[in-house]
Subunit: 280 residues, 4 copies
């Protein structure tokens, strides 16, 4: 197990979330003898160690907090970062569409602040492996701290260089690019991924999407998919159920594809969405 465990009670050394009113969250590591401090008051860790998760604790000023294990989504959102966030809606879909699972080998570039690295590492588990490339030392250091905080560093190899000369690895199961110019590296992706493996990237602009599609087609990738996910929250008042007033309009376009061995016979792929359109 890593940062989350199946225990019912908080113990010394656990990662904990103190959820205060107004959704003010603090993620801390419980440590006997130390004290949690915020402008809403202090709480000695010793008062929390041993309590059942889900208990309400009060600061010395009387401010209520819930003692919880942090959620995966909260950790992803609250990962200290200097780069663009990847949203849980996209990360979840990535995990399923790339088929991330315990035991697999995932390559990623760039590491950024490591939020997605944490997600990959959590799912591949202790039997899997993540190799993550990053050119900027500051980003890598931040990512290392974020991985350490979640006890995930054992399954992650952080490499400090850009990918303009390709990847050292071959036969990875999954390769994900979160760089501004993925179209420049598709040939290298081809060499690092095992045939039939899973490639993905996320890009903010339509112009970048077009460039990547050209390279994917040129390099024997099939099952090309481009999509975007829109997530809309609702207000949780049962007698006045309605969407919230504003939402995120765009995070990025997700692209997926699978490399194959150069075919003998030309292969006219028909994408699922077109098939279903033909049915209309």
């Amino acid at each position: 197990m890593n940062w989350y465990n199946t225990d019912t009670h908080a113990k010394d050394g656990d990662l904990a979330q103190l959820a205060g009113m107004g959704h003010k969250n603090f993620i801390i590591r419980l440590k006997a003898g130390t004290v949690f401090q915020s402008h809403k008051g202090i709480i000695p860790h010793d008062e929390m160690i041993g309590l059942p998760w889900g208990t309400q604790v009060l600061s010395h000023k009387g401010s209520p907090f819930y003692l919880l294990q942090p959620s995966f989504a909260d950790l992803l959102i609250e990962t200290p970062r200097t780069t663009q966030i990847l949203y849980p809606k996209d990360i979840g879909f990535l995990m399923v569409n790339l088929g991330v699972m315990p035991g697999l080998h995932v390559i990623e570039a760039g590491t950024g602040s490591g939020a997605l690295t944490c997600a990959f590492a959590s799912i591949v588990g202790s039997t899997g492996k993540v190799t993550s490339y990053e050119a900027k030392p500051d980003f890598q250091n931040l990512a290392r701290k974020n991985l350490e905080r979640l006890d995930l560093l054992d399954r992650v190899e952080l490499k400090l260089r850009n990918i303009s000369e390709g990847f050292d690895e071959t036969n990875a199961d999954i390769l994900f690019l979160d760089v501004p110019d993925p179209h420049n590296y598709i040939e290298y992706v081809r060499k690092a991924l095992k045939p039939g493996g899973f490639f993905g990237c996320i890009l903010p602009t339509t112009n970048q999407v077009s460039l990547v599609l050209i390279e994917l087609k040129r390099n024997d990738f099939i099952f090309l998919e481009v999509c975007e996910i829109m997530l809309r929250y609702y207000k949780t008042e049962p007698a006045r159920l309605r969407p919230v007033d504003r939402m995120v309009a765009h995070t990025g376009y997700l692209i997926f594809a699978r490399p194959v061995i150069k075919p003998i016979v030309p292969f006219d792929e028909l994408r699922p969405e077109e098939e279903s359109e033909n049915d209309l």
Copy 2:
């Protein structure tokens, strides 16, 4: 490892996907001495065993197929089923928002055809556990077959009864309801989930959402979230990039909440979306 492995070559006993033109997919178990048959021609398994994944193979009629390991998303979509499908977009978001990870214990009701059960079981891995309730023997049998096909049955307990008398388990990490009347079971959810655990359900109508919200508030759940995910695909022609013509308009409303121990002090929770709205 289960149905997917990190090998680069197909071997006897592997689960394989034969991807033909027009996105005609066949998911098969490779078995020496047997023959794949479709209206596009036959291919002896012995011709495929030993090939690198991603190789193009031709049927005796000359129809091309790619020999691939099935993707997670394809397996979820193509799980034989008699019930409403859960889409990868929702499943991925569920996995992240519920914090499903290796080693955890997930309870689910109803099992249905087992697609979501397969997803939970794949992610919790061999160190985790899924308990799944279903009242209809036919559904349970289908789910068992689907789990067997993916070698996931070892970590799943299938229970044949409805949940009108609650769950046998306590202190589960995660509990997900895919039943038409989840509002009737929230008290039982409360007892089966460990405090601070993660509850989720999916519901097609707004009326059902309102009913569940009432019960969640009544039973000391916090961090209530209701949302929906819209997924839009694009045509993958780089010089004519545009969304497809039609899309799925609705699968269901996703609801998330976490049970806590009855608080001493009233807790006015402010949801994240409202906070950010105040900032506008």
Copy 3:
């Protein structure tokens, strides 16, 4: 003609928009001898009268403004108001779905700040008529000012009372309710609208939508439609085309229906969306 005219040059008495940098807009009535004042400097009206529309003018501080006729959408958005705004995306769809056209009679309740009243009045033209009910004198006064500003008052009758005793008119072509409890007035709508006319309302919550649907079915309305419109803007950088970061998530659910004379034979209506679904 009303507030907009087909002239190419600004003249005394015209409604004008001064569009400054940072999308700071000022809507003014040009009047010889007066002076436009803002924190970006002053511009005498006499300097603007006689210029072609679309000319850039500079304040005495050198700040540039474009001299334009205000757009319909800008006027709707910038109508001084005390109530919830109706967005152009919804207003445009309303106009088409209700079939608003020159010469028709539209009834509306409540008037609110009169933005929708202005839209109805602009489209029905000088040969049409709008009757608008409002219970609050303050709202009605604001609406009157807004209508006066656009020279639309000649075709609008403003009534100061709520609609709990129904409408005075019969055989209106179109009736639109923008009140929180439209389900209480559907019987009255029935009497005020000519059979075969067009009814519409906009409501923020799903619970209200359900209540209205019940009453519409009870009162011999057919062609019931419920929909919502989502509008997403893009950044206008051609080399980096992408949606903006945030958008409006919800304005309201739009409901449309047409009253008919009580049928002799039961009529199982199949809504268009269901038909097309059957085709899938």
Copy 4:
């Protein structure tokens, strides 16, 4: 008045819609002495002339139909056509964003089957004017028939030529392009539109949008807007309120801009959406 009138009873010469079960609609011109025929049976027009609109009539086979005036949206959707449809959701937004109103002069290219021409002509009324260019005689003939059917031809000038040499008119209030390569004509648009007028176009692909934006910026257009509208219908069952299963994913990107006279001082326009994003 044109195709719609404010009468309460059907009379000889009126345009009528016979709405049968299963949303089978027939749009006919009532004419004494003739007979309506469908596979659901016949109805003599004389039986319908004189009836109140909204009356249920039965065919000789007993099939029920409602006698209605056709709605604007139905007419737009059911306009006989050979080209891509423009949806009411887009048309309504166009009308408001372009500021179409009684008395204005609108230029359009291409005419296509004339659905949008009908919409423009209905709103500009008998005091306004629509000039519409089309290169294909077949399309123009179809459009002429569609306009005639709605008695709108008096205010429309149909021109049979493409716009590769520009437009004959100047100082139009509004100009809308529904052609595949609008970026080739922006200079001509500049000459035909009065400064401060309203330009719009609709385009299916992102690549086309980028091309148009480049030309608009090059030709002194301001207030550039790119947006898309998503319309989602709901099933109208009050106790099971939910969106329909499938929806239109894409019709086109809408682009709007206003030409101005070449400015003396550079003008850094900040679009509204960016302003509001800065507020976040």
